[in-house]
Amino acid sequence: MSDMITASRERVADTSTPKSRRGLSWVRIVEIAVIVFAVAFALFPAIWIVSAAINPSGSMVSQSFIPQNVRSIDDLLANFRRLFNDPTIPFWRWVGNSLFISATTTILTVTMTALSAYSFSRFRFRGRRTLLVVTLLIQVFPNILAMVALYLLLLQVGRYIPLLSLNTHGGLILVYLGGAMGVNTWLMKGFFDSIPREIDESAMVDGATHWQAFIHLILPLVRPIIAVVSILAFVGTLNEFLLARIILSDRENWTLMVGLFNFVDAEFTNDWGVFAAGSLIAATPVVILYLSLQRYIVGGLTVGAVKG
């Protein structure tokens, strides 16, 4: 690792000059080696899982990089057929559950964080700094260890509000919302800070309320960070596994992640192909979403943070 750091030191200074015009110096060779390594490291598992998904025999022992014994397209889809037709795997139901839970959580999270971040960014009040620190600090408490408390909470509340009881999507969403504040509020606040205050101030001189300024002027300007937080919240919820596993007990209610993890408990090396097929379907849309919205993610994550 120290080699890499030393190598980087010498080059960083050039960040201001976008194009390098040197020949194939040894520095360039090291650079190319690093990038080739990084790309190979990043891609190999992804490629391997695609290969596993289309391997007709479906078990780990028979997998080769290029699938063998392929006579038709149909053979390539063998694992997918098993995934869709096995009555013990309600795959599409899991997908639906995951989408519903993630979408609901995202909409509520973004609404709440945007309101809080606007307030933190624009208003000055006693205890503001303390609240900001607290927002970050509470995030530090390991959610998993509060599991006993959260479990009993849903058990209790569920007796009177069945929509939020254990083994319901409502209960899971509620628990997710509690953990969604911290970092997201900070990210949004950083971005809000970068919007000049004169914009809302001039609107209020014209008689607008804070609410009107927020809705009509600020929200359109902070779309990038809204997009970033939405994606982070959506994907974060989609990927969450532990709370979902503890709260949702019925197979029918499971999210996709809980369902996929279930393959590991059984005979993982034999179910490898079906697991790969399910993973491919689950991961592909998320990967496409990330890559196509890359610009927003990069912009939002850094601009917000840079301005502090």
């Binding site: 200074a13 390991p142 260890l145 209790q156 309320t209 990330y290 850094t302």
Partner: protein, 522 residues
């Protein structure tokens, strides 16, 4: 610009709220309060006063904020903070509370609940058996007893039904039930030995091969002596309110204990117990090491790649997208793919290493290689994220700063350490902290990759693994299927983790503030 100067700009709303707005707000607050109060009362009725009080305090806090004009900036945060109060702060305090109790398997109930639960245990007094019995069975296989008392009164007893008064000698058949005699009676004995006949609140059972009797409650609580009496043996079990057990004079403990406050016992156990102390130190070290090396390795590789790409590289956009893929793949799926690839017998990495080098580490059972594997997988998961934010932050550093530095004669080394690194850290310092605390509490990769394994030798119930970090270790204590689940002890460790990470976060926070000041001066 100071905070007070900023405040003057926009602190007060320029228009006062309209009457209708105020009315709507009042109605909404009243409705929310009524709902919270109703829920709180019901919850307290169930004995959960802790949650009830939380609900009431939250509702009062929200009403105060929404009715006090001075608190108007905080109103924007009310929905978020209501949820935080209920789902983050309440569980925290509840965990704190549990940490000072002996809440665990065998100590889950309050004293009264425990006494009631044990009241369901029945026994058959010996020597007092008052019936001679004959067994009957119907077509459905249900057994019934023909009971004859010493006073020659006879009853027919079917499970969960009132006794039926009958008379005369034992018949060959009765109401669809057939009398079982001789060998059949003997064979039935093993099945009906544990069964209860007649009314469920006062059942009759088989006491011996010829005698049957009425079941009695085994445990009776005597308020005056504050003790539980075993009716079968007459033993007195004194209620020990410091340990939450019913203890007999000979030291024997009744099957169910109850939930009491135990002070700092759980905390002293963390640091004292020789059994627990040994592995816990290693778990601690690994937790810090794992979090530290995860952040450092991912940040270094991410920064390196970002710098190279920023300097100009053919196909930058495509390369950046390709490197982003691990970040975009759902973490759990990524970890499980690695788990498959690292499989000690069939995994692609293992088999290929064997083919090329003739040797491959056993990733799952060698403690050192298991740690290497976890760090490698975590590097794969998180370096794209650091590449992403580093390259954004690098682009945001204005070129004029470097030009100015060059005019002043700074060399590359100085420019990197005096300009790039401080500015970079200002931008992504908070994210580095967040990443450290995230990894400090990273349960997913530990659990999903190797389940904390390989197990440390000499630890049991629950077994501790070489790659267990504090959080997974604690999780095993609270939720493991084997051994007793000790929520009190697990909660105490949770509190310790929280204190450590909270302290780190505060320290880092100071550090970030200092960096911000550096950033402003540049």
């Amino acid at each position: 610009m100071s905070a007070t100067a900023q405040a003057r700009g926009s602190l007060e709303p320029l228009t006062s709220p309209k009457v209708t707005d105020l009315a709507i707000r009042l109605i909404l607050i009243a409705l929310a309060d009524a709902f919270a109060l109703l829920l709180a009362v019901s919850v307290i009725g169930d004995g959960n006063w802790f949650l009830g009080v939380t609900l009431i305090v939250t509702a009062l806090g929200l009403s105060y904020v929404n009715l006090n004009p001075a608190m108007w900036p905080v109103r924007w945060m009310t929905p978020a903070f209501a949820l935080v109060a209920l789902l983050v702060i309440y569980p925290m305090f509840y965990t704190l509370y549990v940490a000072f109790t002996n809440y665990s398997d065998g100590h889950r109930f309050t004293k009264i609940e425990a006494i009631n639960a044990m009241g369901d245990t029945l026994y058959l007094p010996e020597g007092e058996a008052s019936y001679a019995w004959e067994v009957f069975r119907n077509e459905a296989g249900t057994y019934a007893l023909w009971l004859t008392s010493a006073e020659d009164q006879s009853f027919f007893a079917i499970p969960d039904q009132a006794l039926i008064s009958v008379s005369g000698d034992v018949p060959g058949a009765y109401e669809g039930y057939t009398h079982l005699e001789g060998g059949e009676r003997f064979r039935a004995l093993s099945e009906i030995q544990e069964m209860q006949f007649g009314p469920s609140d006062n059942p009759v059972g088989i006491a011996s091969r010829t005698q049957a009797g009425v079941f009695q409650k085994k445990w009776v609580f005597d308020e005056a002596q504050n003790a539980l009496i075993d009716q079968e043996t007459g033993t007195l079990y004194d209620a020990d309110d410091t340990s939450g057990n019913f203890v007999a004079a000979n030291g024997e403990i009744a099957p169910l204990g109850y939930w009491v406050a135990v002070g700092f016992n759980n905390f002293t156990r963390i640091f004292n117990s020789s059994v627990i102390g040994g592995p816990l130190v290693r778990v601690f070290a690994w937790t810090f090491g794992f979090a530290f090396f995860s952040v450092i390795s991912a940040f270094s590789l991410g920064l390196l790649v970002a710098i190279i790409l920023n300097r100009g590289f053919p196909g930058v956009r495509i390369i950046r997208s390709l490197i982003l893929i691990p970040y975009a793949i759902p973490g759990m799926i990524g970890i499980l793919i690695w788990r498959g690839m690292l499989n000690p017998n069939l995994g692609v990495i293992t088999t290929n290493m064997q083919a090329i080098f003739g040797w491959a580490p056993n990733w799952q059972s060698d403690p050192g290689w298991a740690k290497v594997a976890i760090l490698m997988v975590n590097l794969w998961l998180s370096f794209p994220y650091f590449m992403l934010i580093c390259s954004g932050a690098l682009q945001a550093i204005p070129a004029t700063i470097y030009e100015a530095a060059e005019v002043d004669g700074a060399n590359n080394w100085q420019k990197f350490w005096s300009l790039t690194m401080p500015l970079l850290l200002v931008a992504i310092g908070p994210l580095l902290i967040a990443s450290f605390t995230y990894n400090f509490n990273n349960f997913l990769i530990i659990e999903a990759l190797f389940r904390g394994g390989p197990p440390m030798i000499g630890t049991s119930a629950p077994p501790v693994g070489h790659t267990d970090n504090l959080i997974s270790y604690t999780f095993r204590y609270a939720f493991s299927a084997g051994g007793t689940r000790d929520y009190g002890f697990a909660s105490a460790i949770a509190i310790v983790i929280f204190l450590i990470v909270g302290l780190l976060t505060l320290l880092q926070f100071r550090f970030t503030k200092r960096l911000e000041e550096i950033g402003e001066n540049v």
